[in-house]
């Protein structure tokens, strides 16, 4: 019975573009899925490891620019570029972690924000690499076919499937990680970093690992962002507001859970994007409101709360 419903769900997911071929609806789902990846990425470092970062846009932007530059200058197909974007993001995470992990709690958060701002300014001014404020634009995506059918990049459908794949990968990565020893160690670090050291956990290595995975996923999402929106500039991909949105989606959804980011994205992105369609500005008002309500009444997040309510006792 369980297997059947799982298969049914998978089929449903795959069939969405045919069931509801409305472009805005598909755009909404694509955004939800993309932000699920970003929220999941943040959740690994901010949720599981308890290291609250306000500068994760750095990795999103790194992935976006890597993908764009590889495609525009070297002709590397964006789906490979996305993976490269993730790798580049994970690499720049290493020196960032080296600097920022010396600090704790709110100081760590502020330092990540400082780093993100510095990176944004560098991207804005290193024009030979990034074209600065002018940004980078994809005019035509690769001429490829899938099983004999040429891919129509004007339609949302190919992007939908790509988004499903990366969202699935992100959720799966979180699920697998949470079951490993490393996952358990991260939760210990989240609770009390000194005690974690005292029981033999190499907390620096653990945090760096979490950061690398987190940065990789954010970088991949950044690459997708670049491909989907086809235009990026430093203020679009390195903005503080993007970092903040990632935090909010993860927290409102439910930190340290596997599905929290998905739930958070469903709530916040749907409301936000729909609002943005009609009012153009101010859509983050929902993020703010949800965050305040969550911290006050449901610090474990929407999904966290649901899980508590659904579990038999305890």
């Amino acid at each position: 019975m369980k297997l059947f419903s799982l298969i049914a769900l998978v089929v449903l997911f795959l069939a969405v573009p045919w069931i509801i071929p409305v472009p805005f609806f598909l755009h909404l789902i694509i955004m939800v899925l993309m932000w699920t990846v970003l929220g999941a990425a943040w959740n690994i470092l901010g949720g599981f490891a308890g290291q609250v970062s306000f500068g994760h846009a750095t990795f999103l932007g790194a992935g976006a620019y890597t993908t764009m530059i590889l495609y525009l200058k070297l002709g590397v197909a964006p789906w490979f570029g996305m993976v490269a974007g993730g790798v580049v993001a994970a690499l720049i995470a290493l020196p960032i972690g080296f600097i920022c992990f010396r600090l704790r709690g709110p100081y760590f958060a502020l330092s990540t924000l400082a780093v993100a701002e510095i990176v944004r300014l560098v991207a804005l001014n290193w024009e030979s690499l990034t074209a600065g404020p002018v940004g980078l634009l994809i005019t035509t995506l690769p001429d490829v076919s899938f099983r004999g059918h040429p891919i129509d990049w004007e339609s949302k459908t190919p992007f939908y499937y790509m988004a499903v794949v990366i969202a699935l990968a992100a959720v799966l990565a979180t699920a697998i990680m949470s079951r490993t020893r490393m996952g358990a160690y991260l939760l210990a670090i989240r609770e009390d970093i000194d005690s974690a050291e005292a029981i033999g956990i190499n907390t620096v290595q653990a945090r760096v690992s979490a950061l690398s995975l987190s940065a990789f996923l954010a970088g991949v999402a950044g690459g997708f962002y670049a491909m989907y929106l086809r235009y990026i500039d430093p203020d679009a991909v390195f903005a503080i507001s993007l970092s903040v949105e990632m935090v909010f989606i993860a927290v409102v959804g439910g930190l340290t859970t596997v599905f929290g980011p998905l739930i958070g994205a469903i709530f916040l992105v749907t409301l936000g994007e729909t609002f943005r369609e009609h009012f153009l500005v101010g859509h983050l008002i929902f993020y703010g409101a949800f965050m305040m309500v969550a911290i006050r009444y449901m610090p474990e997040g929407i999904w966290g709360k649901l899980r508590l309510l659904m579990s038999p006792q305890r």
Binding site: A109, A114, A239, G282
Partner: protein, 304 residues
């Protein structure tokens, strides 16, 4: 996301003593307002041990308060501070009493996230109500700058500077010469000892938060005639002011003043001698360096 000068001042590329002094003066003027915002932030941290991410949005509210007082009621923005500072004090008190009070016991990180939510809420509400159009306040007496000793000093900034000094002096008097003020300082250094000595910590907390908010709003009012106003200015401001507060030592008022002035000067000099686009980043680079090598701030006092 950079606060832009409405008077259009640019960095002038020819070097020389005049340019240096000019940029020092600009830096100190702007820095005094950074300092005022920073003082509010630092006393809130000192007493409540929380990072108030919505602080920058309080500045924004002050800016718009001044703008609307001028646009709707024809009140000179600098006079409107008489309305807005008490108003902000009350707003701060209400914010603490009805929103923050139950959140603070949940810990530093929870409060940080909550105030981040509050910040987003306020900024986006402002975006909805007042739109994202840049606003400016045009004052008839502010068109030509003063030129003492040949240094261009925009009048609104000069007035702002003067009033910021007055406010800071008033605050200093309050902290040193009144019972409540002394209680604020005591609680900011040792909350438990202060409670044992009979300080009503709850009352001091609400006073401090209200005071911090009033300072932020006041600085916003003073800055309004000198900047382009837009609703999301709080975002970058709060980041910069945390740089100040951490550099000066969390909880230290003199540290915030020094930090604010320093940031103003560094940004101003940076715009001239390094490059205009990177000037916003200089503060952050220094911030990171200080955090790494002198975690207690440039002037000591902070907590690690």
């Amino acid at each position: 996301m950079r606060a832009r000068r409405a008077d259009g001042a640019h960095a002038i590329p020819n070097a020389g003593m005049e340019t240096f002094v000019q940029s020092m003066v600009s830096g100190i003027l702007t820095g005094s307002l950074y300092a005022m915002i920073g003082i509010g932030l630092t006393i809130i941290f000192g007493v409540m041990r929380i990072i108030n991410m919505a602080h920058g949005d309080m500045v924004m509210l002050g800016m718009y308060g001044a703008f609307w007082a001028h646009a709707a009621w024809k009140i000179d923005p600098f006079l409107s501070i008489l309305i807005w500072i008490p108003g902000a004090f009350i707003l701060g008190g209400i914010t603490y009493r009805f929103l923050l009070r139950k959140i603070v016991p949940g810990g530093e990180l929870n409060t940080l996230l909550y105030t981040a939510g509050l910040s987003l809420f306020i900024a986006n509400l402002a975006l909805l109500i007042w739109t994202g159009d840049y606003r400016t306040i045009k004052l008839p007496y502010a068109i030509m700058p003063l030129r003492p000793f040949g240094i261009a000093v925009p009048i609104p900034l000069a007035i702002a500077f003067g009033m910021a000094i007055l406010v800071t002096a008033g605050l200093y008097w309050f902290l040193v010469h009144t019972d409540t003020g002394r209680a604020v300082r005591a609680t900011s250094q040792e909350p438990e000892a202060a409670a044992l000595m009979g300080v009503d910590v709850e009352r001091i907390t609400i006073v401090t938060f209200a005071l911090g908010t009033a300072l932020a709003c006041g600085a916003g009012v003073l800055l309004a005639p000198s900047l382009y106003l837009y609703p999301t200015v709080g975002e970058i401001l709060v980041a910069k002011c945390f740089v100040i507060v951490v550099l000066g030592g969390l909880g230290s008022v003199p540290g915030a003043i020094a930090g604010g002035l320093l940031l103003g000067v560094v940004e101003s000099l940076g715009a001239v001698y390094v490059s205009v686009p990177y000037k916003d980043g200089i503060g952050f680079v220094i911030f990171l360096l200080v955090l790494l090598f002198r975690p207690s701030g440039l002037f000591g006092v902070g907590k690690s």
